[in-house]
Symmetry: D2
């Protein structure tokens, strides 16, 4: 299945693991765990523990948590709140420190992607919704928000290489070395294999992100190696590669897949749903709410101080 | 090929005609003419003259002019100017009056589509770029722009039904009956069959537009019957239906096409290129320039008065 | 004080009434009532009952309700909810019908103003946040949302005359005559006299709106006379006229005000706070939430059905 | 006039110099030169040569070039081209190198300001219009654009501190140390003293920019000292401080100016014209065109290669 490995692309570890499983291969060092939460929320953890499993999966070692919720993209305050709290809890569990020490951390949140292309605008939109605190705490001290527990949040949406002429990793390395955050959190649009996961799935990982995901190929690897600080990545599939959708459909009917024929025609094309604007809007609110819960305590209570 | 007729959708009369031709059917009342202009600009005219040809084509009787130019979506002032002038000339030729009488007309330009979804934002972006004159001429008289030849241009981007709760035709009928334009010009994103036509093709027609085109199904028919005034429609293919792309790819390998399997999965999905933001931006400048040339004379010279 | 009446402009009936009061004039047919609600929310009702009072005030007869809340422009879910509920209650009280009959009404919500100028973008932003239902109820019937009590909401942001070449009243008359709503609700940015009211005041009135308010002079009167249906107007002061701010400051030092000198220099200029983007964003969420409460029942509960 | 010096703020060296001149002070080390170009374009150069002159002016030593053109904010291709060429010529003259050597330089263009507040969006909008080349030349080599003379352009709109929690200088120091440009060009909205200069004036300086300008106080000094590379700054006045406009108006009538009274009321307020959206749009096109001429040669010819 060499061809397929090339063409059937997904940024979701969950889907890659399912594919391996379907192919009948049992891989040592690769684990999957499912939890069913209330409100139709399903949390799946894929753990890649060995270099060999990483190689087979084509993804770095680490933990990949997928939160699936069928109504994620609909506008609904209380339901969103449940998912946001689940996401906040999982973010906290992925942090490289014990939660009780060290706070308040200095967190740089990075909204990756192109603000001008709707399915790629997720990261920039999350940054638009964020409440940043670093400059306030720097000016008014650590009790600026009433307790000493509020993280110092900074945020940036650096744009994509076609807009800036720079790799994201260049921009972020510079900012990290200058502002010295303890943690970088990236938010990005991803490509899934299956259309049914679009807009209703969030992947959370402590591996950093690897190039070539999402709508455009808008970055080189952003991880602890390249940035020098731990990286937690939040991603939401908003597109399927055009080649993937065609190959996937054809694989049920054709044995030998003429990869050469497909790729030039479909290269640089993606598939996305017609209501992608609503979907990105709602999920971006949800993610910024989760980040507020995780790093500011309850944002709403904070405000009253 | 009943299934294909259903699934392989295109808003371009050109592509439907090519398909009919390929299928070997010679249709009475259907004509095609090609002209090669300088600068790699190709103009194809498809004429549907009989009800029977209209039925076979699935498109209303009338003239469909397609301007193809490979570098249309690139940023290049002088090349754009050439295409804009060609487009302006063709718009003028499609007008339901002799050009020399009746001017200045009262023209309502309508930017259809959803501003929040990049490939569907073409119409609203053209409206953003337009120089409207109706209110100025109403206030300062017909010599407001130095000669009596400047058309009274008004413009609106009414949004899509999911945003307004109203059909476009309802909104426009009301506005037309209130402001009484002589002509409505619509601008909209279209769906093509072939990805290679995306962003480099403009279709111009005097038939009005029929429902179900473009990214969303954002209108009922807008034409002389529904609006009471002649309608000239400008469309640019920016997407391919996901079902179309899959069916098209598969048709080379599979005889019997399992339509039932495909449609639920791909319904409401579209395929679009990754650089769609640049493409829509450049083509929207080009179309507004053409409208300025056609209805304001040379906009740049106007300004100096 | 002829000059001042010209230069000191405000769209808030509250401020005009205060001005009259300060000038010592007791006006028959003009009433003011204040209520202090919980959470620092203050509701002031100005009632203009006679033609004479209307003439003195320079505003049409009717009810003007002003909701003031100091933290309105800050991001705070629960506090916003309190204001939104107060606003929803007052909207319901202003409706021209008994609340218990006639529902579900057909409501057209109009976001006035220019989306491209931050302090004038309030109306369009409210429309962006709205959940429209008219097309859904038309397609799926009056139980589409589980009960027969959900209003049919449609919405439009028509743009300003400089963008469309048409008066708002022309656009809306057409749409109203075509879609026949029972009520039009307008949302618009207003000009206040006092900078301290910007972004923390909402005015609600059943008089329609009169020309010349807000950032631009973007409309002719929109009221029952011009549109043929009752009009409820929601306005938020986001700017102060530049001439007003200067005259107001000078009036404490100079007796005779050289109106002639001021006006040309300051004409077409407005004053607005530097954080106007946050302010408009937060208040637009608040108003759309109030409209959802008033016309959809509780939006969040609706969603679950 | 101590108070006034505090309150009457301008980012234009031209206006400060005029003010000093009016006050009758002849300052050693301060020079002014005017040139009248064709097409109503006026170029004024203010040169601050001594520390003493810098102190009196409240601006760093260096060259300040002001281009004034009354129709700058109007949409007019050929007139804009003239101004853009004049601006490009002046940018080239300000560069810290002999023009004939060293090319192609590596240029980082920075769009300062807040994209969400119309008069502060100039910088981000210029970046949106730019054609960046750095990544293309890095990938395809120095002949990627047909000659070896095309500069490597990168660009970023870093946002303001209220959005990022970081000073612009922190973000840019990091990016500069990582990507090592030879020159930083900043583009920003400025505050003028006089409303008549808004939208029709461009200031160009080799001194970097000092804090507190424009709409918000969105940066600390960006100059050779802080960034380590030469900085050329392009600024366009789009606002007048509210306090400035009041003080200026009052100064003709009142001797003693009660600064204390004014400042709290007007602090954080600015004055801007109602057509600021058109103005910022047109001037941003003009500046990006000038940058293309200066650093890419003629952009339009480049494209054809």
């Amino acid at each position: 299945m060499k061809e397929s490995r090339y063409l059937i692309r997904t940024d979701l570890a969950l889907e890659t693991q399912e594919r391996c499983e379907k192919a009948g291969s049992s891989i040592r060092g690769l684990y999957r765990d499912e939890e069913q939460m209330s409100g139709d929320i399903k949390v799946t953890t894929v753990q890649i523990d060995t270099e060999n499993a990483a190689k087979t999966m084509g993804k770095p070692k680490g933990t990949y948590i997928t939160i699936e919720a069928p109504q994620m993209e609909e506008e609904d305050g209380s339901y969103h709140r449940d998912i946001a709290e689940e996401l906040a809890k999982r973010i906290t569990m992925l942090l490289p420190w014990e939660n009780t020490v060290d706070r308040p951390w200095n967190i740089l949140i990075v909204g990756l992607g192109n603000r001008e292309v709707t399915p790629d605008a997720l990261g920039p939109k999350v940054v638009d919704n964020l409440y940043v605190t670093r400059h306030i705490i720097r000016e008014y001290g650590k009790y600026a928000f009433g307790d000493a527990n509020t993280c110092r949040i900074s945020a940036i949406a650096p744009g994509v290489m076609g807009q800036t002429g720079m790799e994201c990793v260049e921009i972020l390395k510079g900012i990290v070395s200058e502002t010295r955050p303890d943690l970088v959190v990236t938010v990005d649009a991803l490509a899934a294999r299956s259309t049914k996961r679009l807009g209703r799935t969030i992947q959370l990982t402590n591996t950093g992100i690897t190039p070539g995901s999402g709508v455009g190929n808008h970055r080189n690897a952003l991880n602890k190696e390249s940035l020098g600080v731990p990286v937690v990545s939040i991603g939401v599939p908003t597109v399927v590669d055009a080649a993937t959708i065609v190959m996937d459909a054809m694989s049920e009917y054709v044995e030998e897949l003429p990869e050469e024929l497909l790729s030039p025609k479909l290269y640089g094309m993606f598939v996305t749903p017609k209501n992608i604007d609503d979907s990105v809007k709602q999920v971006s609110f949800l993610i910024s709410e989760a980040l507020h819960i995780a790093f500011l305590g309850n944002r709403e209570e904070k405000e009253h101080i």
